[in-house]
Symmetry: C2
Subunit: 419 residues, 2 copies
């Protein structure tokens, strides 16, 4: 506990020194971090090997180990990511609004400023360690990192190298801190350090995010679980629909913007669904379908009846649920009821229907004739991504570095008093 408080105090103190750093110094420190990570690739891989060995011993899956593994190529990718963050322009320090109140004799400026100290909680992905540091530091925030325990040796090594880069640039190395005690008790205390930490960003599985939402006394930006929908409207171009559903479902199964549920208008059901089925069968996707779809696909392989639960499920796998609706309105209300407010798409050639769908669907990203897989900070031109927010407060959808900024009013008078 004392260790944790001490970590918070040191990081908070460092955060106060960051606001006065020039963009040049910040970018130099980021670029040096990238260089030193590359130069110390052997050391990072040695430390990573300890984590890999332990993960293998404890019988972790191949995909788990794949995400954990640091190779020269992976380290180069991490370094490139940091250099990419150095190259973008954030809004820190910019004036968002200004106003002169002549009657009262004051000028008002609303500026973009850092939150201060950010806490990041994530799982066993060492790349997030570098990523989170780069985005926080770029926007003049200090950051305390709490990564998954299975990556602790890798994370310690990465943070050690970054701290050297900061020191060499004359910057307080406590601007990035790693919590080395990876017990659950410490995480529980971490999310209650509201005296020091201004913002918590949990990044990872639904259970991690739920934990943070439930336990934290610090403001949170929830990043996203995604039960994403594609709706094939009665006026859809079926070829586009087939390609979009196939891409949204199968391009990558584990990501939050993958399609988990297909909604289809009954007037186009018999024409469209068999084609969608055939395309999805190229990748052996299982369909969990309602009664009407079941009739259309009767006797086909990998088609089973859906339960109520299916329509609330983010599979993250080669499975998709299918629901037939009688109208656009029914599609909208079904989706708003079951989605996680992440990304939904309508396939239609009817502009009016597209407009209604995009207005009424209450999700962060609403698509027309496009795959849900596009929800991503880089694709959206934000230069980098901290995560995808599924909340409405502060930041919604893919978040670039500016999501790590708040605002502050600077007011100047010359002895001004309120009349």
């Amino acid at each position: 506990m004392n260790d944790l408080i001490n970590t918070c105090i040191l990081a908070k103190k460092a955060s106060k020194t960051l606001t006065s750093l020039s963009e040049e110094v910040v970018n130099s420190a980021l670029n040096l971090s990238a260089t030193l990570l590359r130069e110390n690739a052997e050391y990072l891989m040695e430390e990573n090997a300890k984590d890999i060995e332990f993960a293998k011993e404890s019988g972790k899956s191949a995909s788990f180990i794949d995400r954990l593994l640091l190779t020269k190529k992976v380290i180069d990718g991490i370094a490139e990511g940091i250099e990419q963050v150095a190259s973008i322009v954030s809004s820190v320090g910019k004036t968002e609004y200004s106003y002169v109140n002549e009657y009262q004799g004051i000028t008002i400026e609303k500026k973009k400023v850092p939150f201060g100290l950010i806490g990041m909680i994530y799982e066993a992905r060492p790349n997030v360690t570098a990523d989170a540091f780069a985005l926080a530091f770029k926007t003049r925030n200090a950051v305390i990192l709490k990564g998954g325990k299975e990556a602790i040796n890798s994370n310690k090594a990465i943070v050690k190298v970054i701290k050297i880069a900061l020191s060499k640039c004359g910057i307080d190395e406590n601007a990035v801190m790693l919590i080395e005690d990876v017990s659950r008790e410490t995480t529980l205390k971490f999310v209650k350090m509201d005296k020091y930490i201004d913002l918590i960003i949990p990044r990872g599985s639904a259970s991690l995010i739920n934990f943070a939402t439930k336990e934290s006394t610090i403001p949170i930006i929830e990043t996203g679980t995604g039960n994403c929908h594609v709706y094939i409207d009665e006026f859809a171009d079926i070829d586009k629909a087939v390609e979009i559903v196939f891409n949204a479902k199968t391009q990558r199964y584990s990501v939050c913007n993958a399609c988990e549920s297909l909604v289809i208008h009954k007037n186009i059901l018999e024409k469209a669904l068999p084609k969608v089925y055939d395309k999805l069968s190229e990748k052996q996707v299982e369909l969990r379908v309602d009664d009407l779809s079941f009739e259309v696909l009767s006797g086909k392989e990998r088609v089973v009846k859906a339960t109520t639960e299916d329509f609330y499920t983010e599979y993250g796998d080669a499975i998709i649920s299918v629901k037939v609706v009688n109208s656009l309105e029914e599609a909208i209300s079904h989706i708003n009821e079951h989605c996680t407010k992440h990304s939904e798409s309508i396939v239609t050639e009817n502009e009016e229907n597209a407009k209604i769908f995009q207005e009424k669907i209450d999700s962060s990203c609403v698509y027309h004739n496009a795959s849900t897989r596009f929800s991503d900070g880089f694709v959206f031109g934000l230069g980098a991504e901290i995560g995808i927010s599924t909340q409405k407060l502060h930041a919604r959808g893919p978040m670039g570095p500016d999501a790590l900024l708040t605002t502050k009013y600077y007011i100047k008078g010359n002895g001004a008093i309120r009349k």
Copy 2:
């Protein structure tokens, strides 16, 4: 409970109809609400009389009754407030960011959109009923109001009149709903209706805000308790300092942007403090002071030694605490430790000190040579004010109508799939 859920369902449904309303229709409905409130002043005063009688019977204070009372003049002021909201321009529907990703074949637009359904919890001030409706409706949000039980008859009457105006303009009158069951149990259930309500804004006393923060499962914008500071720097113009402290402390005692604590550099203590004392004595302000100030003011009336608690206290009364510091840095760290992150001011002729103070003080509004009393949406040119946020997430400082907006990404392709 069923009543409450029903209220939420009806209001949520109404919220969906608001996004397609034109600015003309919205403003007509606001102006008609104002007109009908004026025309029904007698009815409103009759209903208000029931609340006033009950308040008198239960021995409420004169200031309580003053805030509760509806006169023709007060009703006219309420109507003017609504007309003012009609006259401003909100950002609803505006595109905040757009990007064409040619490689992926999509266009991305990030638009300002309403939250959906807002819950407002406040105390026995009937004007907030009209105010909250006007701001929510202007930004195309439906609103459920939960006012103080002592104002229930007044609130019912105001909402009844507004609903008539909405109906006459062809708008779903459930866009504004009042919770008539004013029990604490209902309020507790209200702040857990996260299935329907997108945002809760508590407005009033610290205990009300703490209740909402602690109990709500819905995202909240905290509005402000204010333990505001004025710091007299060693390079201050003493005349300006005296006027600013006097204005910030005494212009209105009960408001959240009133000064509650004076911090003063020891090099200017003997010259400045007696003058501040003399000026504050015009209004019989009591000073709760640290040891050094006590020496300087020894033997004076209304000067007592401060306890540790005093420096954390928002008096809302003719009392001010006084703390002497040895440096600008000590002033900053004392203020950051004790303030509620609302509004703080430095009085100095030294521009460098002002710059450091404004950067390092972690409050929503930081002043240089001006009274803290300016923290207000109207003074800041926002056209209206929902409250003053003391949080960093989403909205910080005085909030205009745009604080009731979130964003949504609209993405369009022509069969676009992710490469």
